[in-house]
Amino acid sequence: MPKEVTKLIHKYLRHDKTFPHVWCPGCGNGIVLGALIRAIDKIGLQKDEVVLASGIGCSGRMNVYVDFNTLHTTHGRSLTFATGVKLANPSLTVISVMGDGDATAIGGNHLIHAARRNLNLTAIIINNQIYGMTGGQYSPTTPYGSYASTAVYGHIEHTFSIAELTATAGAAFVGRGTVYHVTLLQKLIEKAIQKRGFSVVEIMSNCHIHYGRRNKMGDPVTMLQWLKDHAVPVEKAREMTSDLPEDKFTIGILADVEKPIYTEEYQKIRDQSTSKQ
């Protein structure tokens, strides 16, 4: 097994100039990157046909490490660039990695409209419930009552549920995983990339430095344990007779629907407009 991992590292990581990486020891981002690489490898995509876009923040730095076509855009705008890329060259597999603030605060408008539009894109949203890179300010997913560097008296806003938000906005596929459940995570990412339509994977992750420390959640291992204890497989949740307790969340495939994808619909418009000339 270690041999297999080493092979993947050599195949997909850039060897020149980009290491050591910027993430803190114990960060969940590395686990997400690992799962993403394994998913891409399993699907068998060529490196040339993958475009990995990102925004700003700790998640934004992910793509510099990997040997794909990588596009590190502006804060929250990753999906807008991805939209342009996909429309210009629909044969590319375009994946956009974002953080919770990146995707749902500054990029919230782009996220819901991308979901509604249904281009064949994959959004990977790492939700660590905080702005990590800038020093622990509260984000749209910081829980009510918790603490952040801009919420030292306790947070009074309520959270977005990223998975439910995007499903309601019309995403064709929505999955939620955690950085504890790595096998599920890889499977979700695989399914999301292979889904024809706009797909979202929300990944619950740990920022022990800025969220965990302030909220007394312990070291990375303790936080992963917390993720394990609070994640409920969606199938199990559906069988439950009572509502899910507020501090728990579902994991698994939350939405999977078939709907026409944008590029194919647009091709019909092209054909129609040409014949009407």
């Binding site: 076509n69 990588t70 855009t73 705008r77 660039f81 939209t83 342009g84 890329v85 060259n89 782009h110």
Partner: protein
């Protein structure tokens, strides 16, 4: 046997002429958001682009529109967006990305009165300095102004060519009057239109260094997916595209961005002189004011004043040398603008010759008329 294409005379408004120019230049991707007085550009392209295999998309806002055209251009397709003041403000962020990542693209700003929502249906020229300095940080950019429907066509082609050649975003400043005035335009046959495409890498992918300097300062540009995998970022980057904080790499990078444009001044700085040969008095104008100025200098000549006109098509990089020659030649220079005086400050900045420079401004959403310019010339001269 191909039939020789002929010239085409058609009635076009400025916005429609921009579309013709864009399509002739090879634009195949447009992303936009509805806004007066630029919406016709979106509407016409939504009809035309799919017919020729291109793509039109209406995005959720102008931030997204700008992001989408940069993405499409990175994937190898010539791209454009069009907007007006409020939308142009929203585009500044991703326009900066296009500057630092050297992504060719064309942004049309059909100027209306500002600030904020301002005067949506009135012409103005208040966005000149925003076009130059709207996005943060030191950056090179090309700004072109149009005054007629024909220029909307020709300058849009030119804008794409310059953008592709220098890998720099090009802003076209139109205004409500130019955009909505219908004029007969004689379009040249397609085979007579010069179209320049970006230089793509000719070396094997493993030799490709995406931001390596060369004599032109413009590195070849690969398209996403064509085998030349590399990193594109809005961070200051080294020659390989990776973020850097090393002072000498930062300095070399920013300097190259400016040098590539400086080296092209001779072809980037477009101006046109009218009756300047024997002029002792000159008007310097751009955009729709040029139309009034053309008439005004003839009227002034009928009154015995040797007046000439310098039309600035390129506003930035500011065509300093041509303006300096006019300042040297004339004893009086008038700069009429539909703002409080944005280009007149540039003219005064380069005036090292003690020439009398005056501005003439309207900020009431109305055009400057030929009479006003003529009277201003005559009264100033006494």
């Amino acid at each position: 046997m191909t039939k020789r294409q002929s010239k085409k005379r058609i009635l076009l408004q400025g916005n429609e002429a921009v579309v013709e120019g864009a399509l002739a230049a090879g634009c195949r991707f447009f992303a936009g958001y509805p806004i007066t007085p630029a919406s016709e550009i979106s509407e016409v392209l939504s009809v035309r682009l799919p017919k020729i295999g291109g793509t039109f998309i209406q995005m959720e806002d102008e931030i997204a529109s700008m992001g989408a055209i940069v993405g499409a251009s990175l994937a190898g397709v010539k791209s454009m967006t069009a907007t007006s003041g409020p939308g142009f403000s929203l585009m500044q962020e991703n326009l900066g990305f296009a500057c630092i990542a050297e992504v060719p693209c064309v942004v049309v700003n059909v100027m209306r009165g500002g600030p904020s929502t301002g005067l949506p249906t009135n012409p103005a020229q208040g966005d000149v300095m925003q076009a130059r300095w709207g996005t943060h940080g030191d950056h090179p950019i090309i700004v072109l102004a149009v005054s007629t429907a024909l220029e909307c066509f020709e300058i849009t082609v030119k804008a794409f060519n310059l953008s592709e050649k220098y890998r720099v975003p090009v802003i076209i400043l139109s205004d409500e009057m130019v955009a909505h005035t219908r004029e007969t335009v004689t379009l040249p046959p397609h085979d007579e239109i010069e179209v320049i495409d970006r230089i793509t890498p000719s070396m094997p992918p493993e030799w490709y260094i995406p931001y390596k300097n060369n004599s032109k300062g413009v590195p070849p540009m690969s398209a996403l997916g064509d085998g030349f995998r590399h990193h594109v970022t809005g961070l200051v980057h080294d020659v390989r595209g990776f973020p850097t904080q090393t002072p000498h790499e930062i300095e070399a990078f920013i300097s190259r961005l400016f040098r590539k444009v400086t080296q092209g001044f001779h072809e980037i700085q477009i101006t046109q002189s009218y009756l300047m040969d024997d002029a002792t008095v000159a008007v310097i104008a751009y955009g729709s004011v040029v139309r009034s100025a053309q008439r005004a200098i003839i009227d002034a000549r009928n009154q015995g004043v040797k007046a000439g006109l310098l039309q600035l098509t390129t506003l930035f990089p500011f065509p300093r040398h041509v303006v300096e020659n006019v300042l040297k030649q004339c004893r009086f220079v008038l700069v009429p603008e539909m703002n409080i005086g944005q280009i007149s400050r540039e003219v005064k900045r380069v005036n090292q010759f003690g020439t009398h420079v005056e501005k003439y401004n309207r900020i009431d959403g109305q055009l400057i008329t030929p009479d006003e310019i003529c009277v201003k010339l005559l009264t100033t001269l006494g």
